[in-house]
């Protein structure tokens, strides 16, 4: 009996050892390079993609994939170098004519283009998509598109098919940015889906079966893991025919994991490494590509807080914040100070414009003059940040310290990004002086959402209750401006008034950072939240 037991124990020990040996062997086997072939690019991005229906798409990360699958009438040329705003180029429309009163756009559509499912691109397909985005009575209307594409179709009067390759859009009033808005991406984008695919898969089914005309086709998706795009062999533009066979987009929220994946070769490229890792990554032979993006981090100031009702207090706060120091020491060169509410890459941005000097002494004096020699107590409501934001909490701490130096004692409360945007939509709460999010686009529609009184909560993001009736007037005039010069001149007036009123404190423009393995070549960093991967190849 005892022998029997002993044998069992010995056996158990042996199998344990065998198990351990197997585990050790498994461990020692050479790590397979996840994507060893040189025609597949694996990119680690900050979050998994959201829904793939372009008319109701939501995140900037998602558009990194969508821009390769779908196209619209016009596009931003993301391969152009040495520009602050990507130039507009024809895409599914070959050319267009604009009526003298700037309200009728007649698009000549590109011939011989087919969707990935073989369906032809023509004026009927354009009409199908316009119906889907704007016509509530249409069988395949996407209800979400109305709100999300308000900034594109807000001035739409009508649209019609002229002939197979001619399509006309009529606006209620001139819109100086109409073509720019047609090209833009991000949250809601007017790109063209195959009508046959919508009919086959249904409105919701497009999220799992996206079909466009772009240089890459949708390959497969594993939600929460990765999305694979495959080269479109039949792409119409030989100049943008992809050099890669496949792109794999993997959402990896944890930045350290993205960086380690890049270092071991599991990933070929990552976006937004941590500023603190840049030197280390570079020392390991990783290529870093940095450049500004059409984004600004402005601080919304709460006009309903008693001290902040005095413009001298708001100006003192602006003068207390050391923006240059922040970009240099905290952001370690991954940001540049922002001056004025017009963002880098947007219309009217002027590199030489300056708003408030950094002068804590003068700020203190100004605060005393306004009746607050000992400062006051307040609160900073802050976000943990979304996709491309890095360590925004540190910004709050920097600002807290700077405000403290002139006697303004601020506490910080931090919220997840979703909650934070809802709070912003409701207006800054009582007891808080400031909120900050990243915003800005290559068009100025976002100013319509933060400046006029029509955007006061809950109707928009004029969340600090800035009530200047001139804003609505000037914005409308800028939208209707017949020439670009006039539009820019009106935008400059808006910028100067916002600075004078100190309605916002612009803080910085982030530099977007991509890190890639040394064999990844041909990447062009566009001044946009996304890039064109058709030029990328691996050596």
């Amino acid at each position: 009996m005892i022998d029997c037991l002993r044998n069992t124990v010995v056996l158990a020990r042996r199998s344990l050892l065998a198990g351990a040996a197997t585990l050790a062997l498994a461990t020692l086997a050479p790590a397979p390079q996840a994507m060893a072939d040189d025609t597949t690019l694996t990119i680690g991005i900050e979050a998994d993609l959201a829904r793939l229906d372009p008319h109701i798409s939501t995140t900037w990360n998602t558009f990194k994939a969508l821009l390769h699958i779908y196209e619209g009438f016009v596009a931003e040329d993301l391969l152009a170098t040495g520009v602050t705003t990507p130039p507009l180029v024809p895409s599914l429309a070959e050319s267009w004519e604009i009526s003298d009163d700037k309200t009728v756009y007649t698009f000549k559509l590109r011939q011989g283009v087919t969707f990935h499912d073989g369906e032809p691109w023509n004026a009927e397909a354009a009409k199908f998509n316009l119906d889907r985005m704007t016509n509530p009575d249409f069988e395949f209307h996407q209800p979400g598109a109305v709100g999300m594409l308000q900034w594109v179709w807000g001035d739409l009067e009508s649209y019609e098919v002229i002939d197979e390759y001619t399509f006309r859009i009529t606006l209620k009033q001139p819109n100086s940015e109409f073509l720019r808005r047609l090209s833009a991406g991000g949250s809601g984008t007017p790109r063209m889906i195959s009508p046959a695919a919508v009919r086959e898969f249904g409105n919701d089914g497009i999220n799992a079966n996206p079909v466009g005309t772009g240089p890459f086709k949708f390959g497969e998706r594993e939600v929460g893991v990765q999305t694979v795009l495959v080269k479109n062999e039949a792409y119409w533009d030989p100049e943008r025919s992809p050099k890669l066979e496949r792109i794999v987009l993997r959402g990896i929220p944890e930045v350290t994991t993205r960086e380690l994946g890049l270092l071991t070769g599991e990933l070929d490229m990552i976006s937004t490494p941590s500023p603190d890792s840049l030197e280390y990554l570079e020392a390991q032979g990783i290529t870093l590509v940095k450049g500004p993006v059409s984004t600004i981090y402005p601080i919304w100031l709460n006009f309903r807080e008693e001290p902040l009702q005095d413009v001298r207090v708001r100006r003192a706060m602006a003068m207390a914040i050391d923006r240059e120091g922040m970009t240099k020491y905290l952001r370690r060169g991954t940001a540049q100070p922002a001056y004025g509410i017009l963002n880098f890459g947007g219309p009217g941005w002027d590199p030489d414009y300056r708003d408030f000097p950094y002068d804590p002494e003068a700020a203190k004096a100004l605060l005393a003059e306004a009746g607050y020699p000992d400062g006051f107590e307040t609160r900073l409501d802050w976000t943990m940040g979304g996709g491309g934001d890095v360590n925004t909490r540190a910004d709050a701490e920097w600002i807290q310290r700077d405000l403290g130096r002139i006697g303004i004692r601020a506490t910080i409360e931090t919220f997840d990004n979703g909650t934070y945007w809802d709070m912003l939509a409701q207006g800054i709460r009582e007891g808080s002086c400031c909120m900050q999010v990243s915003w800005g686009e290559t068009s100025f529609f976002w100013l319509d959402l933060i400046l006029p009184t029509s955007a006061l909560p809950p109707n928009g993001f004029n969340s600090g209750y800035y009530e200047n009736p001139k804003m609505a007037e000037l914005l409308a005039a800028a939208r209707a401006a017949p020439t670009e010069e006039e539009m820019v001149s009106l935008l400059h007036q808006i910028r100067d008034i916002v600075t004078e009123d100190v309605a916002f404190i612009p803080v910085y423009t982030p530099l977007q950072v991509y890190a890639m393995r040394p064999n990844v070549k041909g990447f062009v960093l566009a001044p946009q939240h996304w890039a064109d991967y058709t030029s990328v190849f691996k050596e």
């Binding site: 037991l5 124990v9 585990l23 498994a26 461990t27 020692l28 086997a29 790590a31 397979p32 996840a34 979050a47 998994d48 959201a50 829904r51 793939l52 109701i56 939501t58 209800p143 979400g144 109305v146 709100g147 999300m148 594409l149 308000q150 900034w151 809601g188 919701d204 497009i206 999220n207 799992a208 594993e222 939600v223 929460g224 893991v225 794999v248 993997r250 990896i252 929220p253 944890e254 350290t256 994991t257 380690l260 994946g261 071991t264 599991e266 979304g386 997840d416 990004n417 979703g418 909650t419 945007w421 809802d422 709070m423 939509a425 409701q426 959402l449 809950p458 109707n459 928009g460 993001f461």
Partner: protein, 315 residues
Amino acid sequence: MLSLALRRSFATVPVLLGVSFVVFAALHLAPGDAARTILGYGATEERVQALRAELGLDRPLLIQFGDWLWALLQGDLGRSISLGVPVSDIILDKIWASLLLMGASFALTAVFGLLFAALAGGAHRTVRDRLVTISMLVLASLPPFWLGIVLLFVFGLQLRLLPISGVGIMEESATILDIARHLVLPAVTTAASSLAVVARVTRSFFIDAMGEPYVLAARARGLSETRIVTVEAMRNVLPAFVTIAGLQIGYLFGSALFSEIVFNWPGIGLQLYQAILQRDFPVVQGCVLAIAVVFVIGNLIADLLAIALDPRRRG
């Protein structure tokens, strides 16, 4: 035994109902709203109200909860706001990765917890006992998000022994070995602190058992110390050990959330994290429900096992 098992199983229903309701209520009381999220911030208030009515979001909370429950009974968890696909598809897709990670972590916790407890408790006040006790104290103090990154740095980057993230990409060609290689670090990270807790508590059971008269009797009969620990004392320690190990399932879920994020392990935890960031309420609700179900079932099994092992508790 069967009737006991059935009674216990029925008792889990109110627990799951309670969890579901608390999560449902919390999500609906939080600022923000699904209609606004679906329509986008450019939509007029009028349109938002119309969609709220269409979705039934303007009705009393209890009625909304009833609807959700009724749909759930038909296997419908709603549709993800951010992804536009059915929640049940997402959960079914993710639950396997989570169960795999949980299973592996639980196995590590139970096996090594018991092993270290026997090593230490069977030799109370020896050097071996102290070494194990101190090691377990260190292990229990390592937060998973830190431990995970350190393990990645050492085994993934420096030694290049193990992969950095995921379950094994390229699903078609993934072998069991691939999956095992991906599983090692997340499972160790998830199990670390629970393993230490189980080892420390079970060690004290061993110490108690080793002082019992039947151990003295066994020694008098000339049985080896190994046999006394692994057979005589073990038999009395096991029921308490099973209960302690079962209790760890909840903690393991907490740790797994961190490991899934650090190792980009595509399980329920990572999905939950991303869903919270994107305010995708139906997915959050579905993920929490899935976690609650696994938690409750795990504890139920541990309970029944403990009772089966200990005749005194069969009442």
